[in-house]
Amino acid sequence: MDVETPDTANRRTESRYRKDRRVGEGTYAVVYEATETATGRRVAIKKIKVRQQKDGLDVSALREIKALQELRHPNVLELMDVYAHKGNLNLVLEYLDSDLEQIVKDRSLVFTAADIKSWMLMTLRGVEHCHRNWILHRDLKPNNLLLAANGQLKLADFGLAREHADLNCAGRMTSQVVTLWYRAPELLFGARDYGPTVDIWSVGCIFAELMLRTPYLPGDGEMQQLDVIFRALGTPTEEDWPGMTKLPQYVQYRAYPKQPLRMLFKAAGQDALDLLAGMLRFDPAKRFTAREALQHPYFQNSPRPTPHERLPRIDAAKARDEEIAGVKRKLDALLGEDAMQLGGESTACQCLCSYHLLTFAYTATRLASLEDGATTKRVARRLSFSMGV
């Protein structure tokens, strides 16, 4: 029997997919929408950018491949294939068109308590599956919880994920993980031997965000983040969290009083608040595990979680139309301002003017790309976030 060479096998995998359009760009990858030619199934291809070969292939790509190969679960994004092309790694993933962040931000959607319960249940099931396989996700946030067309929620973006079973690695993991607003307090204090409960903290923040419809703990920087957390939940004492003061980057914070969660979450049920409090406990040892959270009465009490097919979802076409309309309005406004300021003589006026021209150029490009359909909402939103337009 003649065995196929790796190169032909690799090319055969590659030829099974057709890249259709560029969908988004992250720090280490470009995402394309593609089609599996044999079945017509829509897939996403994540092309890992080769950084200038300083450290060879990106570790996060390896981590993502390794984690996703091991995790097979209805609530975890499926890795269908991997192939190399001109030195780039390409990950073929399920295509999902929206994420929980879009849902939270879409003001036209109304969530019921049952909807929130359903999303929480799916998130925790995915997280529990990761933890049962000794994998920490380390970057849970609404943006990384993708939603399938049938409403199923799937954990995505395992670029920061890693195994945590190795005892020889204990105490040597980096604390620079998880997007700031969802980062657990032990990480902010520089803990290096943390465990699965860092993910549970993130899930707690997401739970709160689903109820509030706005990020729960939005800090501006690492120092300020702890301040925001303590202001919301009260500053912990050594009694609440034994060992806190021994953490590498421990600093004393102002002693904020503990406030009942009820103050902020006025409409939430007592069982929901109880679960939230359990997931946001300061001491990682006392914080709920994924399994404990799933066994919480909240999930058994009424209302029953909404079946995933009936959850609120984004109307993609409508969302794009709205965004285009918004950008157009902005352009008109900018045009008006510039016309007025062009008459001005002073340097300050000219500076302001060129600033506006820049903004104008940027906004115009954004509009063009939106109307083109070349970029989706997600990219546009990410850019607008970082550029502050």
Binding site: M1, V3, E4, T5, P6, D7, A9, N10, R12, T13, Q53, K54, D55, G56, L57, V59, L62, I65, K66, Q69, E70, L79, M80, D81, V82, Y83, A84, G87, L89, N133, R162, E163, D166, N168, C169, M173
Partner: protein, 286 residues
């Protein structure tokens, strides 16, 4: 992955369906098929079976030595050796130089096991080991010499080639933890000499093909079996103790056979070819 396991290049995931796997491993290790094992890419190009196994053993020896110099944990060194063994069931020693493959496997394993090492360090350690074997100058390389660039480029090229060759399956489930578990389950963990001996058998076995032929629980049982025989620790035989751990007698015997052959073999000759070019010249003189 179900879809890519259909390619014949990738070592197959045995014939145990994943659902039936009851060991601690979430995924079974990739093992090679009979065809892949008997007709390796190197064998098809005229490399004799004994030379190939000597070169594989030498590669493993390099990895083990480099790992110690780079202060890597044994888990990383073992993973690298398994990756190297798997790699040469898909690629030929005449196409990818042994030294490059060693560098690529070690570098990848260090990333996979979350103990990354810098490229200059890996390159310099391998340069040192190579020069020592050839009796050349062992001074560290200047980062701007052709020799350094060659080694580095070889490493980077092999890194991606290795991933493609293995179908991106870099998952290696090692038997060390299982072996210790089994000893604990049988109340033998207190016997340090026994545990150490079993551990050493697992290390030595990395130089044989057993890691690409059998699943880790079989390797763990074989190591315990050999160690208990050597230390004269009586074990239950009817029914045999390994049945509890789902291993079979003939599998264990086969693993012990490979180890026996390893210990019977003389030390590796000093002038083994380290690169594809050297190997080609060596084959031409035969």
């Amino acid at each position: 992955m179900s879809s890519s396991s259909s390619t014949s290049t990738r070592p197959r995931s045995g014939d145990t369906p994943r659902a039936r796997q009851t060991t601690l491993a979430a995924l079974p290790n990739a093992v090679v098929t009979r065809e892949q094992f008997t007709a390796t890419p190197s064998a098809k190009r005229g490399v004799s079976r004994s030379l190939e196994s000597q070169l594989r053993a030498l590669g493993c020896e390099f990895i083990q030595a480099a790992g110690i110099l780079l202060k890597l944990p044994q888990v990383t060194m073992a993973t690298a050796q398994v990756l190297l063994q798997r790699f040469y069931y898909v690629e030929s020693l005449l196409d990818v130089s042994l030294l490059d493959a060693v560098a690529g496997a070690l570098f990848t394993a260090a990333k996979v096991e979350e103990t990354p090492r810098r490229i200059p360090d890996v390159v310099n350690v391998l340069h040192y080991l190579r020069q020592r074997r050839r009796g050349g100058d062992t001074a560290p390389l200047d980062g701007f010499t052709q020799d350094y660039y060659d080694l580095r480029d070889g490493l980077l090229a092999t890194e991606s080639r290795l991933l493609v060759a293995l179908g991106f399956d870099v998952h290696v489930q090692l038997p060390y933890g299982l072996m210790v578990n089994y000893l604990q389950a049988m109340g033998l963990a207190g016997n340090h000499a026994l545990a150490q001996r079993a551990w050493n058998y697992l290390n030595d076995a990395l130089r044989t093909p057993v890691y690409v032929l059998y699943q880790p629980h079989v390797l763990a049982c074989a190591a315990v079996d050999l160690a208990t025989r050597h230390c004269r620790v009586p074990m239950p035989t009817s029914p045999p103790w390994w049945e509890v751990f789902e291993a079979e007698a003939d599998e264990i015997r086969a693993v012990c056979g490979w180890l026996g052959r390893l210990y019977a073999d003389p030390a590796l000759p000093a002038n083994l070819p380290l690169t594809s070019a050297e190997l080609a010249r060596h084959l031409a003189t035969l």
